[in-house]
Subunit: 409 residues, 2 copies
């Protein structure tokens, strides 16, 4: 198939299996300007699927860089609240949400880390009302990728620009199953497989997970009534969407106060334009009390210092080391892909639908149950071919869940 | 100078003489995706001038066309109110406004005129809160152009695409004085010249203007206390901006109930993607009671049927036939340029700052004074080398104001 055929299939997949836009529903999309060709195809397929209005809010890395290079200092405590509030109002009125990402992983390398942290914090705070509607699955939403020149350069530094871009597109199409004869059917089958795994885990009702691997030795408590999720998600508006394209993970809610021990990251993390590598942290009673990174330590420290919940876990996810994305051997420098190549954890905001009746509980009841709350939600990868995980029951008995990075049960 | 030098000067001119962004002020820009190179330069210069945040909301003709081709019927009564309300909130919080336009004049040619009318109406209604903040000069704002391939094709249909685009850019730079050695100084001098003309007209205190030309014979009453404006405008936030780049007009407020007679357009009008040519209307007591257009008559009828104020005048503007834009001999198929090549009138919303104390009067007091209100504001050109205009005093005495399209006083 030609690139444009694949791009068209991929756009259809995003509209149908990803966000699953419903007739009469509005769609609010964000995307980098480098993704215009993909956005145009998505727009066309969304209207064909019955979308009432499709609006794309484009971002431009050049504009972001111009801000860091030239804006006055006070700029970095500001954010476009008027726009984020507008998005929240759109979601409240029923609009679906689609985010197309293609971030340059090192866009802000070399910029003042204090300014980066302040800008991120101001943005997170202003975006919170909109983000809460997303994390609570108030509406159907999805996150998918577009290859961009800067991202492709970081993934394939030895290739020429065009070849790198082409290779990244191929990897995206392949990881997203867009290159299969019937991508929508392939996603339905993949979702069924993930569902079998979540059914198994939900039946086990573990109280905690116990991790052992190089530089990792920690226990992670699970919230009572936690629900394992994977593949499709049923949003509160009754629409089933696939929030991540691709996805290989099953995930649930850790208890914000019941995490203890040391954990080391197994892949670098690109956080809002800065690489953070060699993360190693120690938890006590759910909170990170010691944090180290070989590279990007300042940014990491600022990140987990965003608020109280930024130093506690909001998500735990399991991915076998044999996942197709891991097998590709590519380090994508992008969480959407790398998190599906390895088991991972996320600090920050929890997903309220990963605990029974969570989306109808208030904030206080959720917090009491052990659900974490924060302005941020950042995943980082801790899985490898050397990681063992036990499932621990309430009575303390443990059983092998993963061995050498693969399912053992 | 190279194209990129000129583009950079033009961007600076827009930031400094156009919107005149103030240190610490936020900037909300709208632009077509074809204008990305200009938008990037504007963003850079705005930050250098002290802008706190620059946000660009990009539009894409392809997305608009996809809607008209594929969206369900109910789409055409919808608009992105959440986004327009967000913009209004930004202006209320002090953000400046910049619109970069580069419309394909015949984008919607061939689309269902009923859908076009409904979509325009829904959009105008949803945009009204934001538009009112602009027309009342609540904040500093400006409107400037970027050459786009589709627009260039319509202006220079006989040139090859690249040559057409280049010719349109040259025309934009030239009409905007961006190709002079010091564009900002050239604008200051130009503004002083326009100010001399408005001072003269304001001292005359005409009660009405009387137009005579081919197909045109009508009298247009001016609101008591009307104020002629031209060049720079002092916004309510204390910032002087140039709302239009380019501008050659002086303009004021007609009385919504005191226009009588027949008027014929002298240039085609491109209204939201449709050409309207050969407009000829008859006014009675301020209202259009007969309307005809050789081409696009349906769209024109829908336009003036938007609401009560859409069939009455909100602005009258005088431009000598020797204006640099007229002398270029180019028909731009774009009101921003064509209105500065000929005297014109506008149906719809009036500018409250074109009557004494207008920005502090309420809606009712403004209406009582004769100020028109509408969801729309659409200019069309009635000036030519054959147009004579008299200024009429309250006692009925008349004196020559323009003869054969040139100032006679």
């Amino acid at each position: 198939m030609t690139h444009s055929d694949l791009l068209d299939r991929y756009a259809q997949l995003i509209v149908r299996s990803g966000v699953n836009i419903k007739p009469g529903q509005e769609l609010v999309m964000t995307a980098p300007v480098d993704a215009i060709p993909l956005v145009r195809l998505i727009t066309e397929h969304a209207y064909k699927a019955g979308a009432s209005l499709v609006t794309t809010l484009y971002g431009d890395d050049s504009a972001t860089l111009a801000r860091f290079k030239h804006a006055p200092d006070a700029s970095f405590d500001k954010a476009t609240g008027w726009l984020f509030d507008g998005m929240a109002n759109a979601f409240k009125a029923g609009a679906a949400r689609l985010a197309i990402i293609g971030d340059d992983p090192s866009l802000l390398a070399g910029q003042d880390t204090d300014k980066v942290a302040r800008a991120n914090r101001a943005r997170s705070k202003a975006y919170r009302p909109a983000l809460e509607l997303i994390t609570s699955f108030s509406v159907n939403w999805s996150l998918a990728a577009a290859a961009t020149p800067a991202w492709a350069r970081s993934v394939f530094p030895d290739k020429k620009p065009e070849a790198a871009l082409d290779a990244l597109w191929q990897a995206i199409f392949s990881c997203s199953r867009a290159d299969t004869p019937d991508p929508v059917a392939a996603w339905a089958e993949h979702s069924r497989n993930l569902r079998q795994r979540t059914d198994f885990l939900n039946a086990r009702r573990y109280s905690a997970l116990k991790y052992k691997g190089p530089g990792t030795d920690f226990t992670l408590g699970l919230v009572d009534g936690h629900v394992w999720k994977g593949g499709g998600s049923l949003a509160q508006n009754g629409v089933t969407c696939n929030p991540n394209i691709p996805t290989e993970e099953v995930f649930t809610m850790p208890h914000k106060d019941r995490v203890d021990g040391t954990v080391s990251a197994t892949k670098p993390l690109s956080y809002q334009g800065t690489f953070i590598d060699g993360i190693r942290v120690r938890f006590e009673k759910g909170r990170i009390v010691e944090a180290h990174a070989d590279k990007g330590g300042d940014v990491f420290a600022n990140m987990i210092g965003t608020d109280e919940g930024a130093a506690r876990l909001g998500e735990v996810a399991l991915v076998p080391h044999s996942s197709p994305i891991a097998k590709s051997g590519i380090v994508f420098n992008n969480t959407l892909f790398d998190e599906n190549a390895a088991s991972h954890i996320a600090v920050g905001q929890s997903y309220s639908d990963t605990v029974a009746n969570g989306t109808s509980l208030g904030k206080e009841a959720l917090a009491k149950a052990g659900a974490n709350q924060s302005l941020i939600h950042v995943d980082w990868m801790i899985g490898s071919a050397a990681l063992d995980i036990d499932g621990v029951h309430a009575d303390g008995t443990a059983e092998p869940l993963m061995r050498k990075g693969e399912w053992a049960a």
